[in-house]
Symmetry: C2
Subunit: 459 residues, 2 copies
């Protein structure tokens, strides 16, 4: 039976806040001891929850208790040091606290007047980040929730600027490109890739009908790098818009030694880099820059009378540069990250991820019975057990079900491939070693089972 | 000069968290003493900030210090008891703490497996809220960031389901409808309103080419209520999709005495209600229900190979029902709100807002020299000083510049109208009285200045 609320029970930011903070800190202390992948079946969490909201308010302690008892078993731990799935991410402490502060202020940046600090800080931190990444001076940046929205916005701006309705991207481009094209009722052209999963710019063909080409630096499956300069040349010939999707890898530009991969990005019309992937910032924080802000504004500005203010002449309302009117104070967490980690902290985080992935890659390369499946430009290793797709699929399910590590997969040249993505800030060499040990152990169990089967032993 | 970070300085969730929490609690203690509208000029906040990110990390205390010293002057205080602009909103304490917890977990619900708890809790709290609002059983709900996105998604689903490209809405519909139509390259049809700013359903005409009609319950300027039942009849005749925008007013359905305004909403194909407006939840939390989930899924489902999992057969990935792939754990804050306030707490909040708006409306009605400009179904009063648009515009700027209250405006029948929107949880009768006193005082100052001018006195 739910606890009944009394006047004293009304949630209080100080007393309940201490308890929430202690839960959060304790969670991060022990997250490495929890199974990475939630060990529940579909519907199990739902079934554990009441079918209706309470009539009277309950104390916040009940919420914390049920978070621990009922929800936590259903959490896949993105903050776990052995989370290696998709792209591993990190919510660093300054950013977590900044989210508390942003929720407290509850600034809604529908236009400058309603949130001057949120609006101007967003411009400032996007400028700071542009400098850190070595982007050209003067690009205009703002924050969207996800790369899905950033890419959607860029494609709309491109369509409006060009009057065309085709979008071209490589076979390895993220699904959000195809989704945006479908949402907009436009047409998609898939460009084949070379043997290293990079767009064949020589096959772009005639771009006369192409509104935008989406080039990817750090593609989702293999983190391959499209030849952006060559794509930029092709776009320049027909006035097609060049959108660069560096949602994951863009963060690596903070390190000079990785800048080679971004040659030509300075010629993009728009660029997306997700701070919530490899830049220590919790979801959601997708950074979208453009060197054609007037085209974004032309596509998205719609200021009805009730939102007109004398300040509007200053053109500072960031809702005029993207799809949504209501905008959250996301800049605060990115500001906290940039302040508390600094350039050196971001560089150290990138370098750690790359170094650990390189180590793992070396172990796979040296081990008989395993193979690497793609070059590794950054912190993601594509590999597999020599053998059938079915065996690799089974191996992935086994290692994930065990809860010690979590990895994901991809299809490359119609082969099922395992992916180990390093990027969680808690991940150490011991964690990557652990992953390799688990993979070899579980693969070994197959071998034993096979041997038993061959020998006619019941398993 | 920025503080240099040392090992001891690395932000810590416990020690820095206590300081952040104390800042947040202290801010809410004193927010009523701050000027509601930020008293800064465009560019002022930006100019106060460094031009580049620090090289080395700084302690979190520097972030808190600069939040207080540099950013706070640029904050328009949405949590202020005398914030009466646009739609007044509230971030209640349980929801603020839930945002801290959500950022700590950093669950990214790209698909069920990556966030079972976030996915299933989202379904559960949308079901709970549907019950509280009296929606039909069995509707499928999920959360988007803003009503802009919810309405965009509904229009896309409608276009896919009908194969048509016209969207109809009233002249008083929110700008997000027009923006969505522009983004999608569709066509907009504006339906005239009656004298009380409600859609003239009799003028809908032939809907054969209409993908969706957007009916509004609680329009942005006056909170007028479109005749949803009549619109539903018209939609039924041609198979047009009925999307109901109750972004602001939908929360009032929690009170039986307000249900009259929502007659016919049960016949909608989709419905948006923003929990971040009048439901004690900080931005962003836009609730989108549909009774045609298969049509949403048909429009938005795109599961590339690298996201396919054995769980996918259960169809529980909410990214298949909307534009974005990455989804934040927004359900946690709504859950905290529903748990800690309960049905009775939500009802009390709505009733308080309506009662205070009714009081204010009565004062305006009784005062010579002032006039009401629209009916008041909920908690927003449209009124003006008898006189020119210019005088009312000047009055609004004066009262907002003073910082005691913040109100916004609208154009109704080509007249400039003032809007007082009640909805902040801290607002009391004394605050509404204060607003009325400020408005009359500043209007009186005009009268004095006019008298002086008439008498030839320099002002």
């Amino acid at each position: 039976m739910p606890d009944k609320s009394t006047a004293q029970d009304m949630p209080d930011l100080r007393t309940d806040g201490i308890a929430a903070l202690e839960w959060a800190a304790g969670y991060l202390d022990r997250v490495g001891d929890l199974p990475v992948l939630a060990q529940v079946n579909p519907g199990e969490i739902r079934a554990a929850l009441p079918v209706a909201a309470p009539e009277e308010g309950e104390p916040f302690s009940s919420v914390l208790r049920d978070l621990e008892d009922l929800l936590l078993p259903g959490v896949t731990h993105w903050q776990h040091p052995r989370y290696f799935g998709y792209f591993a991410t990190s919510a660093s402490e300054p950013a977590i606290l900044a989210e508390l502060l942003a929720a407290t202020l509850n600034s809604v940046a529908i236009l400058w007047r309603t949130a001057p600090a949120a609006t101007e800080l967003e411009e400032v931190v996007l400028d700071w980040t542009a400098q850190l990444l070595g982007l050209p001076a003067g690009w205009h940046g703002h924050i969207e929730d996800s790369a899905s929205t950033s890419t959607l916005a860029a494609i709309i701006a491109a369509r409006e600027a060009t009057g065309r309705d085709v979008v071209a991207c490589s076979e390895q481009a993220h699904s959000s490109v195809e989704k945006a094209v479908r949402m907009l009722g436009m047409r998609l052209r898939r460009i084949p890739c070379d043997g290293e999963f990079r767009m064949r710019a020589d096959l772009l063909g005639d771009l006369d009908d192409v509104a935008a080409v989406v080039a990817t630096v750090g593609s989702t499956a293999t983190t391959s790098v499209d030849p952006v300069s060559a794509v930029a040349d092709a776009c320049a010939r027909t006035g097609s818009w060049l959108h660069v999707d560096a949602a994951y890898a863009g963060a690596a530009m903070v390190c000079p030694e990785h800048r080679w991969a971004f040659a030509g990005v300075d010629r993009a019309d728009s660029l997306v880099v997700n701070a919530h992937k490899w830049m220590l910032t919790p979801f959601d924080c997708s950074l979208l820059w453009t060197n054609r802000p007037a085209d974004f504004r032309a596509a998205f500005s719609l200021v009805p009378e009730y939102l007109r203010t004398p300040d509007a002449e200053d053109g500072l309302s960031l809702s005029e540069y993207g799809p949504a009117l209501g905008r959250r104070f996301r800049a605060l967490k990115l500001w906290a990250v940039l302040r508390c980690h600094g350039r050196s902290g971001l560089q150290a985080h990138i370098r750690s991820g790359v170094r650990l992935a390189e180590l793992f890659e070396g172990w796979v390369a040296a081990e008989p019975g395993w193979e690497l499946c793609a070059p590794r430009p950054f912190s993601v290793v594509c590999f597999r057990l020599v053998g059938s797709d079915e065996r690799n699929r089974e191996l992935l399910e086994r290692v994930n079900a065990g809860g010690e590590i979590f990895i994901s997969h991809a299809m490359l040249n119609e082969r099922y491939v395992l992916r180990l993505a390093v990027g969680q800030m808690r991940t150490t060499k011991a964690d990557v070693q652990w992953a390799w040990d688990v993979l070899r152990r579980e693969a070994g169990a197959f071998a034993d089972a096979d041997a038993d089967a061959d020998a006619g032993v019941a398993t």
